[in-house]
């Protein structure tokens, strides 16, 4: 990175911390620290919800995913607007009426203490594990691409935000998320503009869509039906899994995950909470579409510019020092030759080129030649991936998460690279800060205050909350440092880990809201049995015995708890 990039990065990050510290001057009691005195307007609730959901990986991974797999990932969010409606009807009014700090407090009133403790524990376990990964995953990518030290990257990624989160609590989180989202959207908009700006003359958005469509990147809606017929249950992103699986995932995440519940409980009224959630239901799908479209834009860009054989430079360096170094040199040479030929052909095809296309060469012949070169390139890329997968090399064969950032560092002007790197940090901070605040609120409200026999004065509770927030911050950075060596598989782990727990937690809440005759013991036993079942199902899925996309775990977990608790309630009633 150049000096202007470092300056922009440092100013953006320091400015955010200072803003968080300034705005986070809060009432020094639990209501102020965890709920911003319930004074937040709807638009800040909206930005808080979005900032908490969108981690650094979202912005790193989504464009790369569109580049490689197409835009079908957007279907993952189709269930979200429906979940927002159900939440506004059922969950949010109850949380507001009972004036709870955590969602799990309600479960004690509805069932009993053990169900509250179990659900809060499941949340803490899931969140504490996944937050470490949320810090580690973008740190690995940045350190790998920019040559930064991984330990320091982790500390900056997960550590600096502790300053304002500990100091200002929910209020600092809410205000910094507002600022962060503005910078993030601004950065991505500029990046999108520059991608189009750097394309050859005459190539605009319509041409980008045509290029993407021809290459199969505009597969926005997919049915999940196999070519030979029958639904593919292992297919992760399709219309059905997106609407049904995505609905249950979103309902569980926004309705029962304290990192989200804590955002809309800060609203100044029920109306403001509902508006924030419903606006999220309106903007989330188009927003995700645009982020994925950025990936298609980058794909179109590389049709006219040199595409690297592998986007993660550090892995190519790894191969250059392995037993494949000689073969790598040969493959690299052949790849460069094919890529140069392809770029020559593309320059003849581009609308504004001097050696105008169709007048000189038959366009269909050009297309055939280009396709042949693309196939040749794909062969070389596959060879590189195969070598990286060799256990003796120990490399990472998936470079999807490096595509966007490599484009940024290679092609964007000085200063803007720093801003885009800052976007990655801020996205991570927004998500992690909300999580630390929620982990601390659960520990103090659901455990410390609930089980302690002493009643503390408000200022002591406040200090203790700060201490717990600090503890969770250190815990998450520490766990991020421990899991660094697991590589990119971490990113997938974040998504799967959530689905292992969310379904069961949602099931408990669905029973609480919609099955009034079911008591504490049936739901408690059901939750434990179904959670074990989901973990077993995941293990069987990984071994290929039960092929099932992870989004379905949410549905199975929720439905399993509801049905089993009904059965157990019936059995217990008879006894």
């Amino acid at each position: 990175m150049s000096r202007p990039d470092w300056i922009v990065l440092a100013l953006t990050l320091l400015g955010t911390i200072a803003y968080g510290l300034y705005k986070g001057r809060t009432t020094k009691d639990l209501d102020g620290y965890f709920l911003s005195n319930r004074m937040v307007p709807w638009y800040m609730v909206l930005l808080g919800i979005m900032g908490t959901q969108a981690s650094a990986v979202t912005f790193l991974s989504a464009p790369g995913q569109a580049y490689t797999d197409g835009m079908r990932f957007v279907q993952y969010y189709f269930g979200l607007p429906l979940a927002m409606v159900v939440l506004c009807i059922s969950f949010v009014p109850v949380f507001h009426r009972l004036k709870v700090y955590t969602a799990y407090e309600y479960l004690e009133q509805r069932f009993d203490l053990k169900t509250r403790t179990l659900t809060s524990s499941l949340f803490l376990l899931q969140r504490a594990l996944s937050t470490g990964i949320s810090i580690s995953a973008p740190s690995i990518i940045l350190s790998s691409l920019l040559g930064w030290d991984i330990v320091w990257t982790n500390i900056f990624m997960g550590g600096l935000l502790i300053i304002y989160t500990v100091s200002g609590g929910a209020k600092a989180v809410a205000y910094t998320q507002q600022l962060q989202m503005i910078i993030i959207f601004g950065g991505l908009t500029i990046a999108g503009y520059l991608v189009v700006h750097r394309l050859p003359e005459g190539v605009g958005l319509t041409e980008i869509l045509h290029i993407g469509g021809k290459a199969g990147k505009l597969n926005i809606i997919t049915t999940g039906v196999r070519q030979g017929g029958g639904f593919d249950w292992s297919d992760r992103y399709n219309l059905l899994s997106g609407i049904i699986g995505g609905f249950f995932l979103a309902l569980s995440y926004f309705g029962t995950d304290q990192s989200q519940v804590g955002r809309y409980l800060t609203a100044r009224s029920l109306t403001e909470s509902r508006l924030g959630l419903l606006m999220n239901g309106l903007v989330k799908v188009p927003m995700q579409f645009l982020i994925l479209l950025l990936g298609v834009m980058v794909f179109a860009f590389y049709q006219y510019n040199h595409e690297p054989v592998f986007f993660n430079k550090s892995q190519v360096d790894l191969l250059a020092h392995s037993k494949y170094k000689d073969s790598l040199a040969i493959v690299n040479g052949k790849y460069e030759n094919a890529e140069n030929q392809r770029l020559n052909l593309m320059s003849m095809r581009s609308p504004g080129s001097a050696g105008s296309p169709s007048a000189i060469v038959d366009p269909s012949l050009l297309s055939q030649q280009t396709e042949a070169l693309e196939k040749e390139k794909a062969g070389y890329k596959a060879t590189i991936r195969r070598w990286l997968s060799d256990p003796s090399v120990g490399g990472e064969s998936n470079d999807t998460n490096y595509i966007f950032l490599r484009f940024v560092t290679d092609y964007l002007p000085k200063g803007l690279v720093g801003l885009l790197i800052a976007v990655i940090f801020l996205a991570a901070w927004g998500s992690i800060a909300a999580t630390l605040n929620s982990l601390a609120s659960c520990i103090i409200v659901d455990f410390h205050k609930r089980y302690s026999k002493k009643t503390l004065p408000p200022h002591r509770e406040y200090r203790l909350s700060q201490l717990y927030t600090f503890f969770w911050g250190i815990f998450c950075v520490g766990s991020a440092l421990l899991v660094n060596n697991l590589g990119n598989s971490l990113i997938e782990a974040v998504n799967v880990l959530g689905s292992l727990f969310y379904g069961v937690i949602l099931g408990i809440f669905l029973v609480a809201f919609y099955r009034p005759k079911v008591g504490g013991w049936p739901v408690f036993i059901s939750a434990i049995v179904v959670e074990i079942g989901i973990v077993v199902l995941n293990i069987l899925g990984r071994k290929g015995i039960v092929p099932l996309g992870f989004l379905w775990f949410n549905l199975i977990g929720a439905a399993g708890v509801v049905l089993l608790s009904e059965v157990l309630q019936g059995v217990m009633k008879k006894k």
């Binding site: 009807i89 109306t271 419903l278 309106l282 188009p286 809201f513």
Partner: protein, 43 residues
Amino acid sequence: MTANNSDEEKTPLFKSWSGWYRLVIGFLVVCIAVFYWLTKFFS
């Protein structure tokens, strides 16, 4: 379970929250329809 007494707060823009719910679901349907068209048109 349904929304409780706090619902007495005035609903912005619409007469009731049902209007908002219809808007959110309707917009999702429109998005899916547009995406479907984009998928077919540019494939």
